[in-house]
């Protein structure tokens, strides 16, 4: 028996998300159709999503496998990490250094990154962003944060 993993995975994800939201409504008042509590509509939606998930899963069975492209693991980790690093360091390091970090990290997400290119990109984009966002648009963030001033 063949099964289309892609559709099956989508179905499972739908069911899991539906389950999580249904669990979340446990602590909420459900109410009645007349006086709907905060949990009423989400619970209905979770039910619908769960149903859709099962249909998707059911339809995946017997459907031919579809080709899947590879996952760029290095890119995935670096690209998802960059905003997190930015969030963690912006207040401490200030706009300039945090932007430089984001650019440097993301530049290496490409398999073709070279040091010279990453470095020049970092310098160029950091200057550009600070000029445009801080001086130009008045973004209320310190340019040089407290971690870097002594």
């Amino acid at each position: 028996m063949q099964i289309n993993t892609r559709d099956a995975a989508a179905g499972v994800i739908f069911i899991v998300i539906a389950g999580l939201f249904a669990l979340g409504t446990q602590e909420l008042t459900i109410g009645s159709a007349l006086r709907m509590g905060p949990g009423y509509f989400p619970l209905v939606l979770a039910g619908v999503l769960g149903f859709i998930g099962f249909v998707t899963l059911f339809k995946a069975v017997g459907k031919a496998q579809s080709p899947m492209t590879g996952v760029p693991w290095r890119g995935l980790i670096l690209i998802l990490g960059a905003p997190v690093v930015f969030g963690l360091t912006l207040r401490g390091l200030g706009l300039a250094a945090a932007t430089a970090l984001v650019v440097a990290i993301s530049a290496y997400a490409s398999r073709r990154a070279t040091f010279v290119m990453a470095a020049s990109l970092t310098v160029g984009l950091t200057i550009f962003c600070v000029v445009v966002f801080s001086y130009g648009l008045g973004l209320p963030v310190q340019r040089i944060g407290p971690w870097l001033t002594f």
């Binding site: 892609r6 559709d7 995975a9 989508a10 994800i13 998300i17 939201f21 909420l28 008042t29 009645s32 159709a33 007349l34 006086r35 709907m36 509590g37 905060p38 509509f41 989400p42 939606l45 979770a46 619908v48 999503l49 859709i52 998930g53 998707t56 492209t69 590879g70 996952v71 760029p72 890119g75 995935l76 690209i79 998802l80 990490g81 960059a82 905003p83 997190v84 930015f86 969030g87 963690l88 912006l90 932007t99 984001v102 650019v103 993301s106 530049a107 997400a109 490409s110 398999r111 073709r112 990154a113 290119m117 990109l121 984009l125 962003c129 966002f133 648009l137 973004l139 209320p140 963030v141």
Partner: protein, 500 residues
């Protein structure tokens, strides 16, 4: 003539120096990202949304809409010259446009695309001016039951007109609706699904969702394949179409404009669907269908007119009803909310200068685009030599700064990463992210109207069927759903999208 008065007010607003400047910046940026593959109008508008916070509401909407229709012009340039559509709405243009370019007729192809788009844009502007006021009148009479039914219709239609699996698109809508409910419940103040995070009390940040699901996921998808972009461009000579070209192109332009205008209004419609449908129609009614795919000028004229018309008329439901027809319109609604404007029929009544200013600016913007595109084509093409390795760190940096500046909140950046991952996984599983974003915006509205309608009817759910307007809307929604699942229609639908 009230409409002339209104358009006059709109032109006066749009012609203010500051609005002219930002209209220009908008269409310039739009052309730029239209030319560059790998970044679309949705991600760009999401990134720039926070920056417009400090602008006047009209200025901000004028610039953001300029990005959207500007991208339609830019996308066709690269589709014709190097067979690389910058935007998905230009994918069909590449079929015949590139063939024309290979035959040394790139100039006429580009001019046809630009002039056809301009014609379509002008007609669509007038259509918006004509149809927006009566629709607003109707919408002002809507009660909660009608609004609920209208939203249901919108959601269902957006699935029907999207491409890919219908059932998965339905799932994406429901996920979007659920995500939209996260935060404090408006009626009781109860915290829903916040998992104890105070930052989620006002709901998940809309910009973070849009940037994550569209921007980040898009970058990741592009990183999968880093093969070289071959950029070989011949010099474009002889820009102007011949008399024969004009003769062959005018009727397809008119048909494309008509088709695009209609499809643009429908939820889930807009530029992409319009261009595909226009190409299919031209091929079907042509006396010489075998010329298509080998450089038929009709194959450039019709879809280009259609995508621009569709891009613009999709503003009608957004401006009059506060209901987005596609993700870009969802972002426009987000822009209004950031500005403290409640989207819906009241916008036209309470803020006529904003409403008409945006409409009038579209015509001015289209004029700018023709002037920008035709003489400067060489410059735009040279942009393509910018490698993606340089581009995406810039996109990411702008995303981060942009998202942070909405609430000055680091939590939103973690949300970007989380939604980027979710978006990428879903794209990998061939689930379209657009319905999710629509659901996210509409979720709170849907719930609010459902609750109000049920309270008014004292818990009687038949209210949605006994009020004629509401019943009509729901019947249409059910019909759409039934039709989409009919096997014969499904086949046709797949045919329309297969040429991608």
């Amino acid at each position: 003539m009230e409409i002339l008065q209104n358009l006059g007010l709109g032109l006066a607003t749009a012609a203010e120096p500051v609005n002219l400047l930002f209209c220009f910046i908008g269409v310039l940026l739009g052309t730029l990202i239209g030319v560059l593959p790998g970044i679309g109008p949705t991600a760009t508008i999401a990134m720039l949304l926070p920056i417009t916070f400090g602008f006047e509401p009209a200025t901000s909407l004028i610039m953001l809409s300029g990005i959207y229709y500007g991208a339609q012009y830019g996308g066709s340039t690269t589709a014709i010259l190097i067979n690389l559509p910058g935007e998905s709405s230009s994918a069909v243009t590449a079929i015949d446009g590139y063939q024309m370019a290979k035959q040394g007729r790139a100039g006429p192809a580009l001019a046809t695309a630009a002039l056809g788009s301009f014609f379509a844009g002008s007609v669509a502007t007038v259509l918006i001016a004509l149809f927006a006021p009566p629709l607003t009148e109707v919408a002002l009479k809507f009660g909660p039951a009608e609004y609920f039914s209208l939203l249901m219709l919108g959601l269902v239609a957006s699935v029907a007109l999207a491409h890919g699996s219908v059932i998965k698109a339905l799932g994406m809508i429901v996920i979007g609706l659920l995500l939209g409910l996260i935060g404090s419940d408006v009626n009781t103040g109860a915290q829903r699904f916040t998992m104890g995070f105070l930052e989620l009390a006002d709901g998940v940040n809309f910009v973070a969702v849009a940037v994550g699901v569209f921007g980040i996921a898009e970058i990741l998808r592009n990183l999968e394949d880093e093969s070289d972009r071959e950029v070989m461009v011949k010099k474009v000579t002889g820009l102007f179409p011949s008399k024969e070209d004009f003769k062959a192109a005018w009727a397809p332009v008119v048909r494309g404009t008509a088709l695009g205008s209609i499809l643009g209004i429908l939820p889930g419609g807009g530029a992409v669907l319009s261009s595909f449908a226009a190409y299919t129609v031209e091929k079907r009614i042509s006396k010489t269908p075998e010329r298509f795919g080998k450089g038929a000028i009709e194959g450039v004229a019709a879809p280009e007119a259609a995508n621009n018309a569709g891009a613009q008329t999709s503003f009608i439901p957004m401006l009059t009803l506060g209901i987005p027809a596609n993700p870009v319109m969802a972002l426009m609604i987000g822009a209004m909310i950031i500005q403290g404007i409640q989207p819906g029929p009241n916008v036209a009544v309470e803020k006529p200068e904003l409403f008409w200013g945006v409409i009038a600016s579209m015509w001015i913007g289209n004029l700018m685009l023709v002037l920008l595109n035709l003489p400067l084509i060489g410059l735009w093409v040279r942009l393509l030599t910018v490698p993606y390795t340089v581009l995406f760190p810039a996109i990411l940096a702008f995303c981060c700064i942009g998202v942070y500046s909405v609430n000055s909140n680091a939590f939103d950046l973690y949300a970007v990463a989380a939604f980027g991952l979710l978006g990428y996984v879903l794209v990998k599983l061939e689930c379209e992210p657009a319905p999710l974003l629509l659901g996210f915006v509409l979720g709170p509205m849907l719930e609010e109207n459902l609750r109000r309608a049920m309270t008014i009817s004292r818990g009687d759910p038949t209210v949605f069927f006994t009020r004629p307007l509401s019943a009509g809307l729901l019947i249409v929604a059910v019909l759409v759903l039934v039709v989409v699942f009919l096997p014969s229609v499904r086949k046709k639908r797949d045919e329309v999208f297969q040429e991608e």
